[in-house]
């Protein structure tokens, strides 16, 4: 994937929507394409947080290990990001990520992104606002899941 192709893929990714071209260029310089095979473990719970991914195609399951079983807690796919904890210092992976089908993504070394944010705080602010929106969305979704809205009476004329 050439730099131009990476730049184009980044510009079309929902996570980076409305970012200026100069910001996209900064990120494109740090990005590289990765492919994952079905059932490949991308990272495990407890692994050091190193890479941040923007998914271009395919689906990935976020899972948590319990004694004797693996529970799937969320699925992410095209247009989503994966591994935002790599942008925080000293946080290991909270979940396991497993590709469910062939996955193509753009990967970033989290430390390099953080360094870029520190070197250009204005860029850093814009990017971290995007990350914060993702975290807020995940929190909202998790709260809705916890509400168990389908239990009991639940629409449909009943």
């Amino acid at each position: 994937m050439t730099t131009v192709q990476i730049q184009s893929a980044l510009a079309g990714h929902p996570f980076l929507a409305s970012l200026a071209e100069s910001d996209i260029e900064k990120l494109a310089a740090l990005a590289f394409k990765v492919n994952f095979q079905p059932e490949q473990i991308i990272f495990r719970e407890g692994d050091p947080s190193s890479f941040f991914y923007l998914i271009l195609s395919g689906h990935i399951a976020l899972e948590i290990q319990a004694p004797g079983r693996v529970l799937r807690i969320q699925t992410v796919g095209e247009g989503d990001e994966l591994g935002w904890s790599s942008l925080l210092a000293s946080v290991n992976k909270q979940f396991q990520a497993r590709s469910l089908e062939p996955v193509t993504a753009l990967a970033f070394d989290g430390a390099q992104i953080v360094a870029q944010c520190e070197a250009d705080p204005s860029f850093g602010f814009r990017l971290l606002r995007k990350v914060l929106a993702i975290v807020a969305e995940r929190l909202r979704s998790t709260r809705l899941q916890l509400l168990d809205v389908y239990a009991g009476k639940g629409g449909g004329g009943q």
């Binding site: 809705l144 899941q145 809205v149 389908y150 639940g154 009943q158």
Partner: protein, 294 residues
């Protein structure tokens, strides 16, 4: 292939009160188990003019089903509007009346009133793409709209169905959802809140599926049915994505008793949900969506 009438098949105002409130006996032809707690009942319409009225419904309308000696409930019609020889209802067993209804046997008699209520805007949506967002048993009132679109495929652009359920064992019409996904210009995606151990599909609330579809906001009608909390979040997401309030329709579920706007149990702001709904445009109902139901 017949076409749907452009106005509701039965106008509440056009019927005498006695007729509206009288259940007509219908024979239970079959009971099919859909999930661990949800069943589809197929009834033979009552005879005579009442039967003709009962079987002429528009997608989104509901009937009052009377389990004699137990009680009466509003139940959305989940069958094909162009198959008037049968009345189909999908019922989740959550209380005494629904539990009694789903344990009835073929040949038993069930009282039917209706159909009642406002339909999905199938006429207005012609020429547009249709996005169906359903949660739990909320897929049942939307299935007639899906059947209608599939029968009149040339009248609509893309059909997108997003369905959320509590867990894999709660997924309603699973085979149909999978089959619809294979049709041209049709996308049918499902997700569960809790996946368990063996589920290989999507996990997350239904709004997380929005990223998997491509909508042209000005060319799309959205039809929503499910728990109100789910519909509120879906509605906000759709507005964020550029749909206008008059393009979003919701089926509201309130405490409906008489189905004719007489008793007032289902009043929501200026509306009686049984008569003015259950299908409302977002433009009409949004101010009242946060109103607490006592």
């Amino acid at each position: 292939m017949t076409t749907l009438p452009t106005e509701p098949a039965v106008s509440v105002a056009a019927q005498p009160a006695v007729g509206l409130m009288t259940p007509h006996p219908a024979r239970l032809a079959g009971v099919e188990k859909e999930t661990h707690d949800t069943f589809t009942l197929t009834l033979e319409p009552p005879g005579g003019a009442e039967g003709e009225t009962a079987s002429r419904f528009r997608p989104g309308q509901f009937s009052m089903l009377y389990d004699f000696g137990v009680g009466e409930l509003p139940i959305s019609i989940s069958g094909d509007p162009e198959r008037p020889e049968q009345l189909v209802y999908t019922i989740r067993s959550v209380g005494p009346v629904t539990t009694s209804l789903v344990t009835r046997s073929p040949g038993d008699t069930i009282g039917v009133r209706g159909p009642f209520g406002t339909p999905w805007p199938m006429t207005e949506a012609r020429g547009k793409s249709v996005l169906i967002v359903a949660g739990g048993i909320g897929l049942a009132p939307l299935r007639p709209a899906i059947y209608h679109i599939l029968r009149h495929r040339g009248d609509y652009n893309r059909l997108m169905i997003l369905y959320g359920a509590r867990s894999p064992r709660d997924i309603l019409f699973k085979r149909e959802l999978s089959a619809w996904n294979l049709l041209p210009d049709t996308q049918s995606l499902m997700t569960v809140d809790y996946g368990g151990v063996n589920w290989r599909g999507h996990v997350g609330v239904v709004t997380t599926l929005f990223k998997s579809i491509r909508t042209q906001p000005t060319e799309t009608y959205a039809l929503l049915c499910g728990p109100e909390i789910m519909m509120r979040y879906a509605m906000r997401e759709l507005l964020t994505r550029g749909l206008l309030k008059h393009q979003i329709f919701l089926s509201m579920e309130r405490n409906m008793k008489c189905a004719a706007g007489f008793c007032g149990h289902c009043q929501l702001g200026p509306f009686f949900v049984c008569k003015d709904g259950p299908v409302f445009s977002c433009a009409a109902i949004e101010p009242w969506m946060d109103l607490y139901e006592a």
